[in-house]
Amino acid sequence: MISEEHRIAITGNQAIAHAVRMARIHVVAAYPITPQTSVVEEIAEFCAAGKMDAKFIQTESEHSSMSACIGASMTGARAFTATSSQGLALMHEMLHWAVGARTPVILGEVNRALAAPWTILTDQSDSMAQRDTGWMQFYCANNQEVFDSTLLAFKVAEQVLLPAMVVLDAFVLSHSTEAVILPPQDLVDEYLPPRETPVKLDPDEPHAFGGMMFPDVFMEQRYKIEQSMDIAKEVILSEIEEWEKATGRQLKPLYPYRIDDAEVVVMCLGTAFGSVRYAVDKLRKEGIKAGGIRMWQYRPFPIKQLKELIPEGSQVGVIDRAVSFGISGPVGSEVKSVLSPESRNSVYGFIAGLGGREIQPESVESVFRAMLEGSADPVGINWVDVRK
């Protein structure tokens, strides 16, 4: 088991870097962008110091970073990149390619709002804009979870041949130092054995990949991606169990808070959940049956777990840190599609915390109160803390 001597104080970005190092990665290809830069800086230093035996490629763009990772992954290598915001947007084309080519690349994604106007602060508009690419996404709320999720992501991705993003809030996690327990290398080696690839780019058994597929087989290929997402749901659960056995720490697709008898629930992703818990406690003191859920596993969407957790007939407010302009927040509309109408829940979409604006306990409280008072719009966007 893990002793206290493995506990070190590191930032969220360093937590990813350590996980990548311990995963015995082969290829890292990246381009710097705030707030991601210190992830690859740390990895570059590990490589330079001989603490990692990896090929580090500084590319000329994120598009190339992802392309290099895909190429590396196709040879059977374990490949990693990290980015944020504009960088992730520039990768967009290759994000699709990574999925279609079935390359289990892992991406450290530090959530930063997309320009214009320029900002470097956090929201989830960058990663939400990639939700339809077929990447798995795990949203973290502390640095230990960042470390654990990164290793788990490798293990799941290589089994289901889908790439995965480990997502963390800019600065709140990326640049904030917390205590993180790093397990010994042999424990990681045992948990995450070398990748096995039966078909790969290999001069000894040559194949061409990514060629033309006509309508008689293209749709089956797409179906297989969705099928893999379904399988991933089960693989994630069993890998969570394996990780817990090895480390005593448990990851959860959904993290509930005082949910069992809740009549009004607020959901969100990432570190804003701290404010949710605070508001729940405050309302509970007033006798209001409030509860909260944090979503760690966003893709594949944990439909089953959500249905089990949400009390029947409760009101559910979903706080999105991204907007699908002209309709709602992305997570809100998805929760709505999953829960209604059989469980008799009313689901409301809220938008808060864009471009780094803090989601305070008062902000969350106002979300609860809007639902309790019946002033929340059940169809449109409910803006939180916005001057209108």
Partner: protein, 615 residues
């Protein structure tokens, strides 16, 4: 980690590995692999028929070759040093020059001015690499050369043993001819010995270089002044051919009051005496008039004899024809430069020189030389102290001294590029024929004349002499000996420019500069001011060479070819080849090539049917 069985089934794996006769639309879900993967490699897909253009390996010319007045295969010997084979590098160098240790010290390296690396981080230190090779034991004897053909029985007389005469003698010897040199001075070497001070070219180095040429059987008769003792026409009667390379040995007159004083010297006379060990008396204040290389050489020699030296020049430093590094070194040694001044008269008191009256000038419009002309400023005269004056206004060619025969004088004034005159068997080269007066140009002229003499003596060969010209510049003796079979002599060969290269492959690397004695402590001795490269430094510097236009087998074309199979080096012949059947003409190999050793050419669809059968 292994892949989940449901995601990559055994059926799908078998399908990818073994292929299937079924059309894709009839495959079961289990048989369809999760990704698009072919059954075999791209050899099965002869895409050669797609192309509109095709790449071809084509040697381009490195600009250093075209810029070298000698005709050295500069890229060849530099890249061979880079590859670590210094003996082959020395042989490549020896194939085109008899005087590598000399040029490696005194050449003003036009090759480096032409070097494409100038546009990145400074030219390759070619001259220093040549010096490094020239000082190696391979050049200890004439064994580095082997006779190109048996003795022809032809006899050639050469007037002058400077670089032009020596180069010509060497080349003619290699070609099997018997050569005799006539030199008016007591020792051979011409300007190399009597014009270039020993701190730039040590005498033992020069003597070793000349010794090798003597060992090839060249006879050098010193103390024989062609013109006085032997009339040219007489020489031509006794020899099958005569080559005149007596240089430009007469000083231009200065024509000012007092110029007949005994403390007034010409630079030629001063340097000649100084290099013979009898440094003429200059007193405390020595004035040098002129801005060329002989002015700087005279100044630095006078400084070494203990005088305070001032160079008086009518324009500014920027217009001085002397080479930049020589001026730098002279100033470092404490020589003064009086710019924008013309001498008016020498002040003589009681028969002794005491000063020189000068007039200030200002720069006007550019003159014929392209440099701004000096305009005297009336009333600006001033006096500088002088105990001696060296006139370095330049040297002129004296044909009258050589021959009184006007037919010969005229013939020697109308020479072609190869030094041939309209008198049968009479050739000339070196400083004597004008043009650029450098050691390298003289060697180049001597080589050209040797090739012309060879053709004159043995009748016309298959190729015109022009076909041995490298890149519109120098002539290649090695190419001549191989009857033109040299890839740098290919017709229409293109000189590679910096824009043709792919600088992404060339990181900045600082040039290895030669250590200079004077950087530590200038002294008054004539010991050599520069020291040569160590083997490590030579290799590091050679490593900076781009090898413009020549395939170095770096393999990037193979790495980048999307068809994988399309670009190859034949394992047996080492010939570069592109499989037409699989090259689809994308041009990535041409774009990526760091050194422009590939070109893209249009495919003529009518006549040039691309074969598409599988290899």
């Amino acid at each position: 980690m292994a892949i989940h069985k449901e995601i990559f089934s055994d059926e799908a794996l078998r399908h990818v590995r073994e292929g299937s006769a079924k059309p894709p639309g009839q495959l079961s879900a289990d048989e369809i692999p999760p990704m698009a993967a072919s059954w075999a490699n791209t050899e099965k897909m002869p895409v050669g028929g797609w192309k509109e253009n095709r790449p071809r390996y084509l040697r381009g010319l490195s600009p250093c070759l075209a810029h070298c007045p000698v005709g050295n295969d500069v890229e060849g010997f530099v890249s061979t040093v880079r590859e670590g084979d210094v003996e082959s590098a020395a042989r490549l160098l020896a194939a085109e020059t008899p005087l590598p240790a000399t040029c490696g010290r005194v050449c003003y390296h036009p090759c480096e001015s032409g070097c494409n690396r100038v546009q990145l981080d400074g030219s390759v230190g070619i001259r220093a690499i040549e010096r490094y090779l020239g000082d190696l034991p391979y050049f200890d004897s004439a064994n580095i050369w082997s006779q190109a053909r048996p003795a022809t029985g032809k006899n050639i007389a050469i007037a002058g043993s400077g670089p032009g005469g020596l180069a010509s003698a060497w080349a003619l010897s290699l070609l099997g001819h018997k050569v005799e040199i006539f030199e008016r001075k007591p020792e051979p070497g011409g300007l190399l010995l009597y014009g270039i001070p020993a701190y730039r070219l040590p005498k033992d180095i020069l003597s070793k270089e000349i010794g090798r040429i003597k060992d090839m059987g060249v006879r050098i008769n010193c103390g024989v002044n062609v013109g006085e003792a032997k009339e040219l026409s007489k020489l031509l009667e006794s020899y099958d051919s005569v080559f005149v390379a007596t240089g430009a040995a007469k000083s231009r007159d200065i024509n000012i009051k007092g110029d007949n004083n005994k403390a007034v010297y010409s630079a030629i006379e001063y340097l000649s005496e100084a290099t013979s060990g009898n440094i003429p008396e200059t007193g405390r204040e020595c004035i040098i008039i002129g801005g060329g290389n002989s002015a700087v050489d005279a100044a630095r020699s006078a400084k070494r004899s203990g005088a305070n030296v001032t160079i008086v020049y009518r324009r500014t430093r920027a217009e001085m024809p002397a080479y930049e590094t020589e001026i730098d070194d002279a100033l470092k040694e404490g020589i003064q430069l009086e710019e924008l001044a013309i001498p008016l008269e020498l002040i003589v008191e009681n028969g002794s020189l005491t000063g020189m009256k000068c007039l200030k000038t200002k720069l006007g419009e550019p003159d014929d030389s392209g440099r701004r002309s000096p305009i005297p400023v009336p009333g600006s005269d001033f006096v500088i102290p002088a105990s001696s004056m060296i006139n370095a206004l330049g040297e002129i060619i004296d044909k009258e001294e050589l021959t009184k025969n006007s037919d010969f004088q005229n013939a020697l004034s109308e020479l072609n590029h190869w030094g041939s005159s309209n008198i049968q068997g009479l050739f000339a080269g070196g400083d004597f024929v004008g043009g650029d007066r450098t050691v390298a140009h003289a060697i180049g002229g001597g080589k050209r004349a040797a090739m012309a003499i060879d053709r004159f003596l043995l009748g016309k060969s298959a190729n015109p002499l022009e076909s041995y010209i490298v890149g519109g510049g120098p002539a290649s003796l090695a190419g001549y000996l191989k009857n033109g079979e040299s890839d740098v002599l290919a017709e229409g060969i293109k000189t590679i420019q910096y824009k043709d290269l792919n600088p992404a492959y060339f990181p900045n690397v600082e040039r290895e500069e030669l250590a200079k004695v004077l950087d530590q402590k200038p002294d008054n001795s004539f010991r050599e001011v520069e020291s040569g490269y160590t083997p490590e430094e030579a290799k590091a510097e050679a490593n900076r060479c781009f090898s413009c236009g020549r395939c170095t087998n770096c393999g990037l074309c193979q790495i980048f070819c999307p068809e994988g199979a399309a670009v190859h080096r034949d394992p047996q012949s080492k010939e570069l080849m592109i499989f037409d059947s699989h090259c689809k003409g994308c041009g990535i190999c041409v774009e990526e090539c760091p050194r422009c050793a590939l070109v893209m050419e249009p495919v003529n669809k009518e006549s040039d049917v691309v074969k598409t059968e599988t290899q």
